[in-house]
């Protein structure tokens, strides 16, 4: 058994079972704890990462299925932590407890990569799978719009 994984541009040869969800590889094997566990069934979005640029729920993604693909976590979204979405999140003071926010940011960043000028409805559709139990939704929506439009 062994999986070659590319995370944030770094290659790792890992001795893990291929059916192990990517989430636990990131968190427990690689120590990348910015990707969060929230439900384990792809229902909350806290574990969102990018695989070849697309938003995926790492809690249900077998690590073997992403071997050789480019995995990006919140730690690798922008080396300086200055991705427009991250900056917008700070500008809007979005977080309360903050736990879900890395998943929200990864989801939003994937949306904007694919659709740089989303409508309000596009934003709702794209982020409806990401739960924020503190209820920061209004600010999340506003921050995505800010990142997209500068306003």
């Amino acid at each position: 058994m062994g999986v070659r994984l590319i995370v944030n541009g770094h290659e790792h040869d890992l001795d893990v079972p291929p059916e192990m969800p990517l989430l636990w590889v990131l968190r427990d094997v690689l120590g990348l704890t910015g990707t969060k566990y929230g439900c384990g069934i792809a229902a909350c979005g806290a574990c969102t990462v990018h695989v070849d640029g697309r938003a995926e729920r790492s809690c249900v993604l077998e690590v073997g299925s992403v071997a050789g693909k480019r995995v990006t976590t919140i730690e690798g979204l922008d080396p300086a932590g200055e991705h427009p979405v991250q900056r917008a999140w700070r500008e809007m003071n979005v977080p309360q407890c903050g736990f879900c926010q890395t998943g929200q940011i990864m989801q939003a960043a994937a949306l904007l990569a694919e659709n740089p000028k989303p409508s309000d409805e596009d934003i709702v559709q794209a982020l409806d799978g990401n739960i924020c139990r503190c209820g920061c939704y209004e600010r999340i929506h506003a921050a995505v719009r800010l990142a997209a439009t500068g306003v």
Binding site: T33, I41, P95, Q96
Partner: protein, 779 residues
């Protein structure tokens, strides 16, 4: 010594305990060897009750309040001001807002402030139980005093350095200036001089004129952890990684109090990565925060532990609570609510009022159990070896946790350290440290550090739930359409049962949450509490009993208004009556009124303030304006945590009965407001949590087992459900109007405001939550 208490901090500006660092790093102090650490012990003088301090309930909490600057502030030689946050951060902003108060009084430059999180140590820091919307309310004065004390000392040090009168110097934004000459010294340059200087007495310390506040009241300070959160570096209990740490999950009893008859762990132990299976002793209702028991599967990673748990074979003795069935229980609650119960408030002559009533209305309101579903499920890391325990956990009460761990392990609290991480949501769930106790037991057994992580299924099936409740209201109306009698019976299993399994009546804290403290201007009122037993562990849930009380009372008011042909907002104001303070004795409250631990002198029940927030919210939403078809407005008000909140909701219900919320206006009177930006965020969040309660929240039990397990069957509000915009209107007050609670009081009025709006839009009156189980298509 501050250096001692900070000795386990890492380098990060975010939190003392960091993932992926060596033990050696963990032990390195945040405060450098050369830091100014205040050395002398400050004791408040006897005559310290200066007129500027008003008395808060924090003085009467365990370990009270601490006013000692030595405990909370240090200054590095480079001028960095280190401020201790002693309350837990769960999204409410306490970790930023309290140090911000210190920094403002200290004239510190916020960009040169570092915040460090205190471990659980109440004898040193004062009360740390982050619960009950108390952080700012209890601690704003002590934090101001601490900041002002250090400013005083810096000014004194500079005056001595220059050999000038102290009256000629003034601290200004991280330096002390000699006003006649313009000379200045940075705080870092003065740090050494403070070492031998005693802290000033309360009489010596001058608070700033509020017009000179730099941060307090401005709402311009972002939360301290904002950057770390957005780059994935913020550390929650889930994220703690200690060298040699194992990962564990626990198979818990399906029913509270169920016991293991036998088990077979051989298949679990065969899962690659699984190392041990450890039995945890069980407990029943009434055992406080004791673990439920079960089998812990210890592994080299979480996934292996989960696979191992799936492979366990356990034969359970299901115990006495396997009878618990939500539908049956609801029937019993309704029966109980239709018969007299223990009288907890008796004002005037209720029997006579109903006897002479021209009309009588009655209605029953049901709110089911709720699970907290904090985004971060309960989790803790424990390292128990050689009779000592070191804990890293997201807990609301780190000192309570420390004591409970010590008791469980049979060691002294001196041998237990509890480090507080960020909390990925709290809502009262993390006031109960059962998950920490599990981790401590497993670590002791395996002799290594271990993280116990709850899955979402564990969280929903094995929690300390919000009570289930039936509130029955009856109103006697005279021939002039006035309410002359009000009877309110409240049936709900009590939180007290978590501490004493025999408890069947609600206790003063629950009764004081909107039942006996009803402020209405009605001559004859009786409140009763019939008894009922608990079959699950009942716990605090953000806003607690205020949720069912506000839902019932504020819905009933709108129902009565409709029956009487009156405007709901006008009728609500009519019931609130003229501005006055409620006198609990005259009101016939049977036991001492629980006023959130505050005195009624400082925090009265003020109907003028209650009515004012109603007017503000109503005006803001344009009460009475013409609405599109399918739209409706609803309003509700509730005083809780000594704060007054009114919420007005506009709802739109489409032809399929689906609801959306174009706008919410919430007015909050929380006394003096230190951080309006975080108050606003709490009110926005309260609307969403209130929406979840109203629309979806429905935890049910059959055969003693929770019937829901994850977000697919226990849904919570999402972006598409959320109000499009929530406007927050903060009633302005000077500092002299005591700061009151903010974290919780926004929640209770939301559900009734929404239900009232749904009625206005559709003609459908919903008395049983959640709304999602009803057909909301227009009549």
């Amino acid at each position: 010594m501050l250096s001692a208490i900070l000795a386990r901090n890492g380098h990060s500006r975010s939190l003392p305990l960091l993932a992926n660092v060596s033990r050696r790093d963990l032990l390195r102090g945040t405060v450098s060897a050369g830091a100014f650490v205040l050395a002398a012990r400050f004791l408040p003088p006897e005559a310290a009750q200066a007129a500027t301090f008003y008395r808060v309930g924090g003085e009467d909490m365990p370990n009270g309040l601490v006013y000692d600057p030595h405990v909370f502030v240090a200054i590095e030689p480079d001028g960095t001001v280190v401020i201790v946050a002693h309350r837990s951060e769960m999204g409410q902003g306490a970790r930023t807002s309290l140090p911000m108060v210190v920094a403002d009084e200290l004239e510190a430059d916020w960009s040169r402030v570092r915040i460090v999180q205190a471990p659980g140590d109440e004898p040193r820091y004062g009360n740390q139980d982050t619960d009950g919307s108390r952080s700012m309310r209890h601690h704003i004065q002590s934090m101001r005093h601490i900041g002002a004390s250090v400013r005083h000392m810096l000014e004194q040090a500079a005056a001595q350095r220059w050999q000038v009168p102290k009256s000629e110097v003034r601290a200004e934004l991280h330096k002390v200036v000699h006003r006649p000459t313009g000379r200045s010294l940075d705080y870092g340059e003065l740090a050494q001089d403070l070492k031998a200087m005693p802290a000033p007495s309360r009489e010596e310390v001058q608070w700033k004129d509020p017009k000179d506040f730099r941060y307090i009241g401005t709402g311009k300070i972002a939360i301290y952890d904002l950057r770390d959160i957005t780059v994935g570096k913020a550390i929650y209990a889930h994220d703690v990684r200690v060298p040699g740490m194992k990962f564990a999950v626990v198979a818990r009893p399906p029913v509270v109090g169920a016991r293991i008859r036998s088990y077979d762990a051989s298949r679990a132990l065969a899962v690659p990565g699984v190392e041990r299976v450890v039995e945890i002793p069980g407990s029943d209702i009434g055992a406080k925060f004791a673990p439920l028991g079960g089998l812990a599967v210890v592994a080299s990673n979480t996934w292996a532990a989960l696979k191992g748990r799936e492979a366990l074979a356990i034969d359970w003795d299901r115990g006495p609570h396997a009878v618990y069935d939500s539908a049956e229980y609801e029937k019993r609650m309704r029966e109980l609510a239709r018969k007299p119960g223990k009288v907890v408030r008796d004002q005037g002559n209720i029997e006579e009022a109903f006897a002479r009533a021209a009309k009588v209305f009655a209605a029953e309101y049901y709110v089911p159990h709720h699970a907290h579903v904090t985004m971060e499920t309960p989790a803790a890391v424990a390292d128990v070896r050689d009779g000592r325990a070191e804990i890293w956990a997201s807990v609301q009460s780190p000192w309570g946790t420390r004591q409970d761990v010590a008791k469980l392990l049979g060691v002294s609290a001196d041998d237990v350290t509890v480090h507080v991480t960020l909390l990925g949501g709290g809502f009262g769930r993390k006031s109960k440290c059962d998950y920490v106790l599990e981790a401590a037991l497993v670590s002791r057994e395996i002799g290594a550090p271990v993280q116990v992580l709850w899955t979402r299924e564990d969280d929903i099936r094995h929690g300390f739930y919000h009570t289930v409740s039936l509130e029955r209201l009856e109103a006697a109306i005279d021939s002039d359409g006035r309410v002359i009698g009000w009877r309110h019976r409240s049936v709900a299993p009590t939180i007290l049962s978590t501490f004493d399994a025999s408890a069947q009546h609600q206790f003063d804290i629950e009764l004081g949450m909107g039942l006996v403290d009803n402020p209405f201007d009605i001559p004859n009122m009786r409140m009763e509490n019939p008894p009922i037993e608990a079959h699950v562990r009942i716990g605090w849930f953000r806003s607690v009993s205020n949720i069912p009380r506000a839902f019932a009372i504020q819905s009933f008011v709108a129902e009565l208004a409709h029956e009487l042909g009156k405007d709901p907002k006008d009728f609500l104001l009519e019931l609130i009556g003229p501005p006055r303070h409620i006198d609990p004795v005259a009101a016939g409250i049977q036991d001492k009124l629980w006023n959130y631990g505050e005195s009624l002198d400082v925090y009265p029940i003020d109907t003028g303030r209650l009515a004012h927030v109603v007017r503000v919210a109503a005006e803001a939403i344009g009460w009475g304006r013409k609405l599109p078809p399918g739209h409706g407005l609803g309003i509700a008000v509730h005083r809780s945590f000594v704060t007054y909140v009114a919420t007005a909701v506009e709802v739109a219900v489409d032809e399929k009965g689906r609801i959306s919320i174009p706008v919410v206006h919430t007015a909050i009177d929380c006394g003096f407001c230190a951080n309006p930006e975080r108050v606003k965020s709490q009110i926005e969040g309260a609307a969403v949590q209130g929406l979840t309660l109203a629309l979806y929240g429905n935890l049910t039990f059959a055969n003693g087992e929770a019937q829901q397990s994850n977000y697919h069957d226990y849904p919570v509000a999402r972006l598409s459900d959320a109000p499009k915009v929530v406007h927050t209107h903060i009633v302005p007050h000077p500092f002299e109007v005591p700061a009151s609670g903010v974290g919780e009081p926004g929640v209770p009025p939301f559900a009734p405001a929404l239900a009232n709006a749904v009625f206005a839009a559709t003609g459908k009156r919903i008395r049983d939550l959640p709304l999602a189980k009803h057909d909301l298509r227009r009549i």
